[in-house]
């Protein structure tokens, strides 16, 4: 049986698109929907400034953990905050890849994720956010997806920084939605909107 890749980023892009189109109108020409179609077709997307900040901040954390002198020199204004996060994830398995096959509505999906850090039953995800508000990640598909990928983990902690302050947003396994339900909703939505074939075409797992 064919298997299809499913990532948090794809689900996130879909949720953002339908949130912007409250009536889930697939004929919408809004950018968020166009962006979702781009992701669905696995076309390269442009890296925004916010995305680049996220990548650079995470690289700095990794450089501090690995004592990589060259990497630690970049973005010195973030060093203190990145150092505090590095202290938390030091000793963890960094960029930990995880996958798991699940069956939803008769289709096989390979859930896939790259965890920023995994240590002693806790999954950590590093975020750079210039406008963080507590509870920001409540509706994210990331922690439900990663909990499914790592059944031994009991806690998920977002480590969030604006480059100066560091905040933690903590989720327990027992308070998080079942990702397979979200995947199921996604499949139904793709079917209803005639997009399932596009998904199947571009997200076939090897």
């Amino acid at each position: 049986m064919e298997r299809y890749l499913m990532t948090h980023s794809l689900l996130s892009s879909w949720l953002y698109a339908i949130q912007e189109s409250p009536y889930e109108d697939a004929t919408s020409t809004r950018d968020s929907f166009a962006e979702f179609l781009q992701v669905l077709r696995r076309e390269p997307t442009q890296t925004t400034e916010a995305m680049q900040n996220g990548i650079d901040f995470e690289d700095l954390v990794t450089a501090i953990v690995r004592q990589d002198a060259a990497g630690m020199k970049k973005n010195p204004e973030w060093f203190d905050a990145a150092g505090r996060i590095a202290n938390i994830v030091r000793g963890a398995s960094l960029q930990h890849r995880a996958r798991k096959t699940v069956e939803v509505y008769g289709m096989n999906f390979v859930l896939y994720g790259r965890l920023d850090a995994l240590k002693a039953g806790t999954i950590y995800d590093v975020k750079y956010s210039g406008s963080y508000e507590r509870g920001k990640f409540f509706n994210s598909t990331q922690h439900p997806m990663y909990f499914e990928l790592v059944p031994e983990a009991n806690d998920f902690v977002y480590l969030i920084s604006n480059g100066k302050e560091v905040y933690q947003e903590h989720y327990r396994r027992d308070e998080v939605a079942d990702i397979t339900v979200i995947v199921g909703d996604f499949v139904l939505w793709l079917t209803e909107n005639g997009l399932l074939e596009i998904y199947k075409q571009h997200w076939k797992a090897l």
Binding site: Q19, P22, A92, S93, H96, A98, L118, K119, A120, G121, T122, Y132, E133, R134, G135, F138, V150, E152, A153, N154, K164, E165, Y167, Q168, Y171, R172, D174, E175
Partner: protein, 328 residues
Amino acid sequence: MIVKPETMTFAGKKVRILIAGFPGIGKTTLALSAPKPLYIDVDLSAERINREILNLAVGVTQPRDYAELRKDLGMDCNEMELQAVRANLADFETIVIDTGGKLLTIMGQYGRVIEPKYGQKDGSLSLKGYGWLGKEFQRFMDNIIYRLDKNIVIVFHTVEDKDGDDTKLRIKAEGGAKNAVWEVMDLGGFMEMRGNQRTIGFSNCERYFAKGTRGIHGVYTIPELEPGEPNDFLTKLFAKYNEVSAKEAARAAAERAAYDEAMTAGYQVIATIVDADTANAAIPKMKAIKHALTSEKELAVAFNGQIKNLSLFYDKVLKEYTPAPEGK
């Protein structure tokens, strides 16, 4: 004193709790249900509070400004002065701050006095000022917990915040300080009316993002007080918190010890891998490790990393590691 993690009990730990809710829902009454409360009326609203409720406090103070409050609570004082402050506060087990929003306001005013750079011309705080405010709030809380050894109940008004079609409840506090406030709390609950019952919720939901730890999760109904009944909801909650803390700490320590043992054993085996033969010899040893938490996944990554470093190749026919074929 340094002790082994597994011997830590967390029993009798002082609790930091945030209570948020709309005016009139009964936040002050609930706050004063903590053990032996000293009511710090930062809002200067004690005269508006029903006398019966106010009488629930063991003591009341109305600081004129933050400098006075700092002095009353012995912040920045030397050890001798601290002894006097402790003696003065000996009758109290809990410091109740009403409201946290007002506390942040007077803290900000104090900050602008001690350092003009913390303020802006329009009287609001600068970015640096907000940074200082977050840190000062943490110092304030740490002083109560660690130097004075008291519980803390901090009361916040709630505001509604539109988020798309949803309405979220948030605490009423100055700008960036909102996030900093939550960081130092053990518990944070939103009070709401459900039907004709007052409730406090400690679990995250679509309406608010609360904070529950150590077995305190979900929505609790706050009982209506009958005449003569003790106002002890938070006293009981703190006792439950500490009871669960002790049990959770014991369980977590056991899990952590098993995890550490597995990780140590795993890294010792991985350290012996220097070629294909030692890699093959390591497989049964790795399989024999008794795993806990995420040790199996973490060690698998470390093992595979070592195999990759040595350019070894897993031969699926022979079912063993061999040096990588030429050209690979």
